[in-house]
Symmetry: C2
């Protein structure tokens, strides 16, 4: 049948199976959703049994947690690159919001991170994204307030609200239409609305 154990070291063995389980889980969660994804199916798709899954992730919830963590890291990496491309912090911040919205159109991100994860992980997700995009938004906002570029208020609360606005906008764009034309039009409308919302934060005395 499969490869007759091609002589891997212990570390390589573990790394490969976890990677395959993560990949299979991402596919299953993205297409069928968390609740409707059976662990048997995921494990069969990854070429292992449920024993391996429980050994590495402790259960279904742990698997989702690892998937979300992985996706979050990928998003954050792209956001970091985008931020570095702009000299002006306010311009960079708005470019990051724009890039986040575009990335969040990915059905994988939508289903896993924006819809299922909040329900399943709950508070765990809040602790998790203390190291994700939210904290960067908050820090950027705090710096911009200090420099007087935007109006001063609670940075953490404002960061949460901007994050929520972007999340709902992404879900709205994705649900707007299945054909790519309507999708693109909805994205433009959302970006315009986001511009209005963010413009209002600018300080103008």
């Amino acid at each position: 049948m499969g490869e007759p154990a091609p002589r891997r070291s212990r570390g390589e063995m573990s790394e490969q199976t976890t990677a395959q389980l993560l990949a299979a889980a991402r596919r299953a969660f993205a297409t069928s959703g968390y609740a409707a994804s059976a662990m048997d199916t995921i494990c069969a798709d990854a070429g292992v049994t449920r024993g391996a899954l429980y050994h590495h992730f402790g259960g279904k919830e742990g698997l989702l947690e690892a998937v979300v963590y992985q996706i979050d890291a990928e998003i954050s990496a792209r956001l970091d690159m985008e931020e570095k491309r702009h000299a002006d912090p306010w311009v960079g911040f708005r470019a990051c919001c724009r890039l986040w919205l575009e990335q969040a159109l990915d059905p994988e991100i939508q289903r896993i991170c924006l819809r299922d994860a909040p329900s399943v992980l709950g508070q765990k997700l809040r602790d998790l994204d203390e190291i994700s995009a939210i904290v960067e938004i908050r820090d950027s906002l705090a710096a911009l307030m200090l420099s007087g570029r935007i109006r001063a208020t609670d940075p953490e609360a404002l960061a949460r609200m901007i994050n929520g606005a972007l999340v709902d906008a992404a879900l709205w764009v994705a649900a707007a239409g299945d054909q790519p034309g309507a999708q693109h039009a909805a994205l433009d409308r959302a970006l315009a609305a986001a511009d209005v919302l963010l413009d209002g934060l600018e300080r103008r005395d």
Copy 2:
């Protein structure tokens, strides 16, 4: 044991059992979450069997849908009353945002409507809240744009974003602290941030 069928008409019978099932489901979903709530428990709490539940709601998902619909109606009713109390539409709109945020601190609303329902119902929820708070927000915004009170952009997209901002703000406030003191402080911070965000929408030429 229970009442020996106190001679109810068919309509009363149906109405009472649906009401009891809805009440029991609200309690269970709010405290244990949708996934962890067993239908056996809900039915036992309501004093009926699973047959009644399937007869009236078609299944677990239909039950959640009915619960969300009921809660949504309650919220909308309070929002309508608040809006009528203000002569100025812009003042009324901001008062409604404030009232929504305060209402959304209810753990029942948080768990059922803001966390579980989007994951379980998905697109069904989008269709459902076409008759809920979102549509009122959108119409209010559209009217305010026409009257030149706020900056003009896509009303639907902006309504979605404001809704998302309020949702995340409510979740953030609720997660801020368990003791009522911290809760109240976080609410104040969120309301202040919301004021900044909405102030920016005002038109000032």
